[in-house]
Structure formats: C-alpha cells, structure tokens
C-alpha cells in the first residue's frame, strides 16, 4: 500500500495550522506544519512532500517570495490560501506557478477537494507541469490562463462562468481530439471543485454562445456523432 501523501502546511496562525493538520490527518494525510517561510525552508529538505499549502499573508517573508523559492527547488504542487478577492495576489500567484488557490475563509471540504484535484492532476500528467502559458490563441480568440480570462477577436474581455472556463481550458489543451462526455466529465471533475452537475451538453451550448459559435452549425466546438466534442481549431501557445 502506498504511504499516506505528505502535506506541508505553512500558515502563521497557530490555531488554523493545528486544526488544519488535525483535519487533514483525519482524511488520511501526513501533515507537517511550519509557522512562516523561514521555518518552512528549514523543514523542506527533511521530508518528501506531495503538496504544499501556503498562506500568502505571513509576517516576515511573504508567501509569494517563498512560492518563488519553492518553485526554484521543486515541482511540488502548491495550493495558496489567499485573502478574499485580492485579485493581484491571485494572478501573481498563478503566474509564479501555484496550482490552485483557495480564498480565506475557506470551507475545509472545498480545500480538501482542491488538494485531491491538484494531486490527481500532478500525478496524472506524470509530474510534467509546465507553468501556465500567458496566452493560448485559437480561431481568433485568446485565452489567458494566468489572468483567467478570454478575449474575443476584437480584444474585448468575454466573461465566462467557472464551468465554462474549465471546459474551454480542457478543450484548448486537447485541440482536434475527440473527447467523449465521460472523458470531459472526468477531466472537469479533476480540476473543478465547485458544483458542475449540469450536463456537459448544457455547458457546451453555453460556451458556444459565448464564442459566437452557431449551435446548429458549429465551427469551433464540433459535435461528434456517438457522443463527444472536439475543438476544431489550430491552437497557438505563448509562454
């Protein structure tokens, strides 16, 4: 049997640290905690961690600086705990290569779901995890994963729901490949923590509308007979 995954929790609040450790241990993880960046650097070489949970707002060295240092050391998945809605922190964190973020105050179960999703993704992709590209272009549209936004051919920002964004990301990462509904469900549940219980078809039809793709005669997201979808476009990535 595989040993329990090892998690490093870095947070300056003692209570949260201890409660989180207890909670995660109850869920079957091994947990090591660190009070701040200095201590985290000290314990880092002592274990082989599968994931790091990092509070961004800490006294002394900031979480962002520590994340940068951690990235230079290892590919270990990072989940950031951010202050609510601090957009710039989130964007910088994602640019630095954090894998996900959870806003404080977080729901413990949501954090757990994110941890599992990030770990599954990290293992599924065989530890090969490129930093997020700054722009992905397809059929005149531009997806900016670091800023989590989509630009239409005129350069105007097109708002997407969380589900639409995840679906689009899955599609542009696998262009010109047929993805069955089951595959899409699997891929989406892997990254999405929130409820994505509506049928894939609904999500696709909403996304088509946003992409101004005619639902009866789609040219971007094509329906494949036998139950699947394919993004029919050349995809160009910019680092």
């Amino acid at each position: 049997m595989e040993p329990a995954p090892h998690i490093l929790v870095v947070d300056d609040d003692r209570e949260i640290r201890e409660l989180l450790a207890r909670f995660l241990e109850k869920q079957g993880f091994r947990v090591t905690t660190a009070r701040e960046a200095r201590e985290a650097r000290r314990v880092w070489p002592l274990g082989r961690y599968h994931i790091v949970i990092l509070d961004l707002m800490m006294p002394g060295e900031s979480g962002l600086d520590f994340a940068r240092w951690l990235r230079s050391q290892s590919d270990v998945p990072i989940v950031m705990l951010t202050a609510m809605g601090e957009e710039t922190d989130r964007i910088v964190g994602l640019e630095l290569g954090a894998d996900d973020y959870v806003a404080k105050p977080f729901n413990p179960r949501e954090l757990l779901a994110r941890i599992r999703a990030v770990m599954r993704r990290a293992h599924g992709e065989g530890q090969r995890r490129d930093p997020l590209p700054s722009a992905i272009r397809f059929g005149g549209w531009t997806l900016e994963p670091q800023r989590r936004r989509l630009l239409n051919p005129d350069g105007a920002e097109v708002s997407l729901t969380g589900g639409e964004y995840e679906l689009l990301t899955v599609l542009v990462e696998r262009p010109n490949r047929v993805l069955t509904r089951d595959m899409l469900m699997d891929l989406l549940r892997g990254r999405q923590a929130g409820p994505f219980d509506r049928a894939i078809d609904v999500a696709v039809s909403r996304l088509r509308r946003k992409l101004e793709d005619d639902g009866r005669n789609p040219s971007l997201i094509k329906t494949v007979r036998g139950g699947g979808y394919v993004l029919a476009a050349d995809v160009e990535r910019a680092a």
């Binding site: 609040d13 209570e15 949260i16 409660l19 989180l20 207890r22 909670f23 109850k26 202050a83 609510m84 809605g85 957009e87 710039t88 404080k104 105050p105 977080f106 729901n107 413990p108 179960r109 936004r149 239409n152 005129d154 350069g155 105007a156 920002e157 097109v158 708002s159 997407l160 729901t161 969380g162 589900g163 639409e164 409820p195 509506r198 909403r206 509308r209 946003k210 101004e212």
Partner: protein, 448 residues
C-alpha cells in the same frame, strides 16, 4: 429690471468681465477722442483767426492807400482765401436787423489793430453783423465815401465730423476688446479649473490635485482645495481601512470555526453551524467589497457586456437549482463591447440579478442597443415591487426594507449600494421602478 439684466448679461464670468471692461473702455475712449477733437477745433479756429486778421489788415492797407477809382480793379486781381469775400461799395453791407457779432467771432478781424494804426490809415467807422454763419464787416475808407465790405464765412465747429474719429474709435476699441477678452479668459480660467476639479473629486477621491501656480489668490485657492481633497481622502481612507481591517481580522476566526465545525459529532448541528459561518462570511465579503476601493485597483478594459450578462445569469441559475430555468433569461445583442472594470461590473450586475431572484423569483435581463451615447440594461423580476418612497432609501448602505430582515433572503443591505457605487464610478447609474403590471425593474445605465 433685474430679469431684463439677467437676460442681457452673458452667463460666464469671463464674458461679463469682458463686457463691462469693453463698455467702460468705450466710454473713456469717446471722452478722450472728444477732448482731442475739441482741442483740434480750437487750434483750427486760432489759425483761421490769424489768417483772417492778417488778410483783413492787408486788404485794408491795400484799399486805403489806393485811389478810389482803382480800388475795384485791384481788388479783382487779389487772390483771396476761401471763406473770404471782399468788395468796395458805396454802401455798407451790414444792414439793420443783422445780429451783433459776438466778441470771439469779431476777434477774427482784430479791429483793435485796424483802429490802432496812424490816423490817416484808420477806418473812419467799422460796422459788423452776423447772418447765419457769415460775418459781415463794413469799414468806411479814410476819404469817407466808400466802404470796404467783407464777408467771412465761419466754418461750423464740428469736432466729430472727421473721418479719422470713427476709424480711430473702432480700431482702438476692437484691439482693446481682443486684449480684454484674452486677458479675462486667462484670469477666469482658474475658476472653471476649480469647478472641474471639484466635480472630479466628487466622482473619484483620488483625482489628481490642482496645480498650485498662477497668481497668488489662485494659488491660494488651489492650495486650499488640495488640502481639503487631501483631508477627504484621508477620511475616506481611514474609514475604508477600518472596515477592511475588521473584515480582514474576521477571516481568521471564521476559518478556525469552519475547521472546528468539522470535528463536531452532530451532523445536523455541524451543517447549521457551517451555514451560519457561510452567512457571516458573505457579510464580511460584502462589507469588504463596499469598503475597498476596487475602482482604483482594477484597470478598465474593453469587455463584452452581453457575455457578462449571460455569465451572471447562468451563475445565478446554477446557484438556484430549484428555480425554473425560464426565470433567468437574456434578451439583447449577441455582442456589445464597452469599456469597464470586469470584476467590478460583474459584481454590480450579480448583485442586481441576485436581488431580482431572491425577492422577485425571476431575473429577466434586457440589454438595449446604445442610444445617444448611453447603454440601458433592464432587470425585471416578478416580485411585489417596493413602495414608491423607498426607491432611493434602498440604495443606502445597510438599509433593508421591513420584512426582508429574515436571514433566508435578507443579506447585509449592501448589494444595491455596492452596485450603485460601481456603476456610478463607471459614469452610469442604477434606479428602481415598479412596473405597472407588477414586478420591479432595475434600470442600469452605462456610457456607451
């Protein structure tokens, strides 16, 4: 009188000042030019006097030394200036009924010189009279039979009758008016700058300060304004920071409580506790959103408003799985690009849609094509509406209408104020109106 004055007076300070200055200048110029013209007339009269008296004297001399029979022929050969006629007759030309010549006119012939000569050359008698503007002078020659009659036409004194007067007046007035208009515009510009700055401050506390240069009074006013703006900024900043600090500090205990709840044995109690905590979190989030100056932090970019409406509606529908899907609908163009702050605008629309869904059990969004530089967006619901006198009150922070204070739908009372703040920061607004057929409509306007 006052109303008339108001109608005639121009509205702007610069125009008023310029008008008064130009009018005053015209009066001063007219007076100055008149004095100048009168001076010239005096000079002219002196010159005429000198010439006339010299001529008269010369004529008299010539006639008095000539024999009576040769006088007429000599007189015919003499060249006389215009305005002077002379003849030698047996009778004086001065008649009864002529007006007596006033002394200043009489000075033209200087009778004292004629009468002051040696006795044999002295006129034996001088008569003078006026008819209209002609001076008649009759002098009896020394031998006593003949008269030398002179007719002197006195030119009328018309100081304004020169063409240069009008030209000078118009030219000088025009030049001075240009100068005055330029100067008053320059001098009153700080006043309009101040008004503009005050307006900008009303919309954005972080508007750039006024330049503190120019004349001393203007610089003082600008400095005073900047100081006031700074104080307002600090005041708003303090308040914002306080709210943000409270909100921020609450996050840690809420996080702890959420973790603690996970260790509770009683599932029902745990679920209730988590629900309470979610609600607390929502309140903190709303308070923070209201306190934080998002406008300053988020850049304005072109965005598709139609897609934004759809996203907001889809997310609202997803969050309410029990609601009928038709309750959330969008009507309008497929694409409508506006400039704005995406996260802020989304929060504003989401708040309005959430209100419609919570209190009116539906949110139907209609996006109208832009007209006269304005975009209109309507959010209709099927609720009972709100009393007419509360249409503005509901936009006050932490204000909730009676009956909506229960926790199921209550909220914090910040949804509408946040939405209005965001839309106003975009140069738009939101108002509420009851529809005649029932239901409430939120009308959102944005500059196109």
């Amino acid at each position: 009188m006052k109303a008339l004055l108001r109608r005639v007076l121009p509205a702007s300070l610069a125009a008023r000042t310029a008008l008064f200055l130009v009018l005053a200048l015209m009066a001063v110029q007219a007076a100055g030019l008149t004095i100048h013209a009168l001076d010239r007339v005096d000079l002219q009269r002196a010159a005429t006097e000198r010439e006339m008296s010299a001529r008269t004297f010369a004529l008299w001399r010539a006639m008095s030394v000539t024999s009576p029979e040769r006088r007429s022929s000599i007189l015919a050969e003499l060249e006389l200036p215009s305005g002077l006629e002379a003849s030698v007759d047996d009778e004086p030309a001065v008649r009864m009924g002529m007006l007596p010549a006033p002394p200043p006119v009489l000075r033209m012939i200087r009778p004292e010189i004629l009468l002051g000569g040696p006795p044999r050359l002295r006129p034996r008698e001088i008569q003078a009279g006026m008819r209209f503007t002609t001076l008649y002078v009759s002098m009896r020659l020394p031998e006593g039979t003949q008269w030398l009659n002179l007719q002197i036409h006195i030119p009328p004194m018309r100081p304004w009758h020169s063409e240069t007067f009008l030209a000078a007046f118009v030219l000088m007035t025009a030049m001075a008016a240009l100068l005055i208009i330029w100067a008053t515009r320059r001098l009153t510009r700080p006043v309009s700058d101040l008004a503009k700055a005050a307006n900008a401050l009303g919309r954005d506390v972080n508007a750039p300060p006024l330049p503190e240069d120019g004349p001393r009074e203007v610089a003082t006013a600008a400095r005073a304004f900047n100081t006031m703006a700074e104080r307002i900024r600090r005041f708003v900043g303090d308040r914002t920071q306080m709210l943000a600090a409270i909100g921020h500090d609450l996050r840690t205990p809420i996080t702890r409580l959420k973790l603690r709840a996970e260790f509770m044995e009683d599932d029902e109690q745990r679920a209730k506790m988590l629900a309470d905590l979610e609600e607390m979190e929502a309140m903190v989030t709303a308070t923070l959103a209201f306190a934080r100056d998002d406008a300053a932090a988020e850049p304005s970019v072109p965005l598709d408003l139609a897609a934004l409406c759809r996203t907001v509606l889809d997310e609202a529908a997803d969050a309410r799985p029990d609601a009928a899907p038709e309750a959330f609908s969008y009507q309008g163009p497929e694409r409508l690009t506006v400039r704005g702050r995406p996260i802020a605008l989304k929060r504003a629309l989401a708040n309005l849609v959430a209100n419609a869904a919570n209190y009116g059990s539906a949110a139907r969004v209609t996006l109208l094509q832009p007209q006269v530089g304005q975009i209109q967006l309507r959010i209709d619901d099927d609720g009972p509406g709100i009393p007419d006198d509360s249409h503005d009150a509901v936009f006050q922070p932490f204000r909730r209408l009676e009956g909506s204070r229960n926790r199921e739908t209550g909220g914090v009372g910040l949804g509408l104020p946040i939405a209005r703040n965001i839309l106003r920061a975009h140069g738009g607004d939101v108002t509420l109106q009851n529809r005649p057929g029932g239901g409430l409509t939120a009308v959102v306007t944005l500059p196109a």
